[in-house]
Amino acid sequence: MSIQYRIIHCLNQFFGGIGGEEQASTPPSLFSGARGPGMLLQKEFPQIEIAATLVFGDNYVAENPEAAIREILGLLTPYCTENRPDLLVAGPAFNAGRYGIACGAICQAVQEELDLPAVTGMYPNNPAVELYRLHTFIARTSDNVMGMADAIGNMIPLGLKLVREEEVWPEKDGYLLQGKRKNIFVRETGAKRAVTMLLARMNGEPFTTEYPMPVFDRAEPAPPIKDMGQARLALVTSGGIVPKGNPDRIEAANAQRFGTYSLKGLQALSAQTHQTAHGGYDPTYANQDPNRVLPLDAVRELEAEGAIGSLHEYYYATVGNATSVENARKYGQQIAKILVADGVQAVILTST
């Protein structure tokens, strides 16, 4: 089959073959041809040629999306004026939060600034979905790279439909809801359809709503502490700081547990006593000085000066790296129970 479409592919440093977490601060650069999953993409869709691959470090984009996106547009603009590509494909990012943010931001920017159709792919619970789903096409994927072939098989047909300006639908074309309403013709009136659904519900039969209600999971802000100098503070982290050797073997990704660790007698964390178990960022700096993630030294200093009443004897740690929302909720509930029982009044929760 001859080449019909030319696309630009965007990948993070892992998938782009530049390196691991130690390369997460790499600025974006443009390479000609396909890299990593782009090879699979071209093999599965012989009518597509990847003209260029843009590769960026996860942290470089996620820490400062606005500046990074301007830089990326600067790289892509000359490219898009001569020999304009048909489509931009970003990712898939699966359940990777930083990667998802980058993919969403790039897709939105090239659609709006370069008028180029764009598609990405993510797991529905990826935190970037809520940020970008209204403005971009996010194909549904599994939560990890095992689902690469399916993700590509979902993203590309959707992207090509956008190029050809064909009609797309979330359910049929496998992308996440954008919150758009479309007018369609149906045989039965709304009243009749609603009553049919109601009867089905009353009879305990299955039915599909035409307007799923959004789920807002929000916690009311708790009242402030009147005087931290009188209050009991606890430290919690999703940054994976654990005693040296990771005694509970908290997983580097998709954590299945949290740890409870004593701070008694400790004035600061150190490379000798603590380390990170987190597999989602370069551990060099946290392992050199774990206070960079869980700032015990500063907290103890402020406690000694009376700015903090007292520090709870334990801290609680898990790894927030592709950890499921259900597990995180469960750990939060369990930790909250202990904190309430121990009379803790305020919490600093640190995340990487």
Partner: protein
């Protein structure tokens, strides 16, 4: 985790480097930190400067815990 602890009535300050994620998942008191691999650190500075910056961030977090809020608030 932030929300579940907050639901128990204990105010939580979320100190994190990717503020949009905290806003999306429902953090109420948010303090932006320095960088993903070292939220409370600046490895390029001297140890004294780094410690001073870390202390400032913790003080900001304590300030957030003592501030009444009605809605999600980022303490820049």
């Amino acid at each position: 985790m932030v929300k579940e602890i907050e639901r128990s009535g204990i105010p939580v300050v979320h100190a994190c480097s990717i503020v949009p994620i905290s806003l999306t998942v429902g953090g109420n008191r948010i303090v932006p930190t320095i960088a993903i691999p070292h939220p409370f650190g600046r490895p390029d500075k001297s140890i004294a400067e780094e410690k001073a910056l870390r202390r400032q961030l913790v003080e900001k977090a304590l300030h957030a815990l003592q501030t009444p809020i009605e809605k999600q608030t980022v303490f820049e």
